[in-house]
């Protein structure tokens, strides 16, 4: 799914920035063609992404095909007769061999058609077009909330490890990590929608209709995702900051120069910790998507995650493959952006000859 993924060592900037050395030799000519290393990185990534994305959709198709039951019987339900099921089976072309169906689909994709949903004949591209913005907004909103919570809190904790702020934060973060998301979502609804009536319990207003209403609708879902995430990231960042402050030479140097702890923490240590932070964040975009499945269901948001789970239940292969393809594309793009961010965060990392 994730094409040119970064290595395991998130703390290892050389790996994080370089990676994948050697397997791009077939594209050397491109280096001569383009003098911009950044552009070269972008193009190489996109070319590598194509076979990976095809592979991921193929894997999805194989898995779906292995499942018992087919779209015809899934769609018709319990009171259908075998004849009715057979009729629909033929109508949906499910009698054609699996490879033929996949081949037709993937050829269509290269011609710009994602096919039509087996459930209602709606074009998959249209379904994704309607639902992607919702999932996208949810993920972006949740990520922003998460960053706004976890970064300042982690700094406050790292400033005085074992202090009051630190202890409370650590306890809360563990609490949020220990409650299943679907319980957390319902509790939020109870507290903020039923009792205080500050946010709606269900539904969504398109951003084109009213920005304010839209943000209000997304607040509870976004926090349901962001708080457990923040619980995780605040621990991550805090631990890394403390390690930087305790063991790094540059901290000692800075202290010797007479800079205060807070200054060193925000200017130096934070900047260094950020690379690991960004790497993991980028790697986990695919997993972040799993969060949205539950939240979309609880808050009645017509997003992609819910369509995907429903599609699997209905054995709706074109829909599921289409969504997986789009997700794979997003993961590739986010990883690329992550790599490009390294250069901004850490001036030592620039995409010169050796780095790509």
């Amino acid at each position: 799914m994730i094409a040119p993924s970064r290595g395991a060592g998130g703390n290892d900037p050389s790996r994080a920035a370089g990676g994948d050395k050697g397997d791009g030799s077939g594209l050397r000519w491109w280096a001569a063609f383009s003098s911009s290393p950044t552009l070269r990185l972008v193009v190489r990534r996109i070319l590598v992404a194509i076979p990976v994305m095809v592979g991921v959709t193929f894997l999805t198709a194989v898995l779906l095909n292995l499942l018992p039951g087919d779209a015809a019987s899934a769609l018709l339900g319990a009171d259908a007769t075998p004849q009715e099921v057979h009729q629909l089976y033929l109508k949906l072309h499910l009698n054609e061999p699996f490879f033929v169906r996949y081949w037709q689909w993937i050829v269509g994709v290269f011609h710009g058609h994602l096919g039509a949903s087996l459930q209602n004949g709606q074009p998959v591209a249209q379904i994704i077009g309607q639902r992607l913005p919702i999932t996208f907004e949810l993920i972006v909103f949740a990520s922003i909330v998460m960053l706004l919570i976890s970064i300042p809190l982690a700094m406050l904790c790292a400033r005085r490890p074992g202090g009051v702020v630190d202890r409370i934060t650590m306890v809360l973060s563990m609490g949020f990590l220990s409650v299943p998301q679907f319980v957390l979502g319902l509790i939020f609804v109870l507290v903020f929608a039923v009792i205080f009536r500050v946010f709606p319990a269900l539904g969504y207003t398109p951003i084109t209709q009213s920005v304010g209403e839209n943000l209000r609708d997304f607040t509870l879902p976004a926090f349901s995702i962001a708080l457990p995430l923040a619980g995780f990231y605040v621990r991550l960042l805090r631990a890394d900051l403390i390690e930087q402050m305790e063991s790094q030479d540059y901290v000692v140097t800075a202290r010797a120069k007479g800079f205060g702890s807070w200054y060193i923490l925000t200017r130096h240590a934070f900047r260094n910790s950020l690379i690991g932070f960004v790497t993991i964040f980028g790697l986990n975009v695919a997993t972040l998507f799993a969060y949205t499945v539950i939240v979309e269901e609880i808050f009645g948001l017509p997003g992609l995650g819910y369509a995907l789970i429903n599609g699997v239940g209905d054995r709706d292969a074109p829909l599921v493959q289409g969504i997986v393809l789009v997700l794979a594309g997003i993961v590739v793009i986010v990883n690329l952006l992550t790599d490009l961010t390294y250069g901004v965060i850490d001036p030592r990392v620039r995409y010169g000859r050796s780095a790509v």
Binding site: I2, L177, V312
Partner: protein, 297 residues
Amino acid sequence: MAALLSETETQILPEAVLEEIPVRRGRGWVRSLDIYIPGVFLLALLFVCFIWPYLYTIPPPVGGSILDAGLPVGSPGHIFGTTAVGNDVMSRLIYGGRTSFEIVFAVQGLGLAVGGLIGVMAAMMRGVAETVAMRLLDVIIAFPAFVLVVVIVLGLGASEINLIWALAVISVPTFARVARAGAVTVRERTYVVAAELSGSKRWQIALRHVVPNIITSLLTFAVLGAGVVVILEATVSYFGYGIPPPGPSWGNMIATGQTTMSARPSLLLIPCITLLITVIALNTLSEGMRRRWGAVR
């Protein structure tokens, strides 16, 4: 779904997340309290779940009498009340804990054994084999984990053993990454390089030097991920793909309790709080273990 993410994420940077409080300067037994307290608590919990029912008669977790349906908390003979069909909640908690612990042990055990093996082998083989193995694992890790679990359970049918296979598909690659990360640091150490130069076979080096060095960090990691597995199981149950009722598990108790939360809050709160305490104990234990035995640096 905190679970899904942290299961994957913690594997990527386990060291950093494990570290809660920097090494304190306590001494002796005081320093070890953070191992003993959660350790004793968890052992007691395991005792109650696995041995207690043999020593002392408790009501069965399923097949309760319909006459006892829907009793509130504190009813005589049913301290935590009964479910809508008359099953004793306390008993379901105990037997459900058994199911949940079985799943945790199996999933983390498979992860530790199979994933650990893959990770160490990848690190020792180096070169193309290592790259290929790790990239394949990357694909699985980056695939939306929840979708993968649902597809596997749908394919194999909902049961405890199939749920274990499905969850192991996530735990194996993540353990493999942790194992490889640890093995890579060990293999660069001077004495390992020396052993290699002096002609020791790779598998000998792996057994003598690498495995003993990374085993504690893998164990610590397994303990940390245990709570995550229970939450994951609950989430899968919420979508109807978990342990099929009436057989209890903490996960499906939370999932079914949630559906009547406003009418019978105790059916949700009891398993939720039990899970919460257990997860906290597991986290504290894994931190304690890490602090005590350290990790590969």
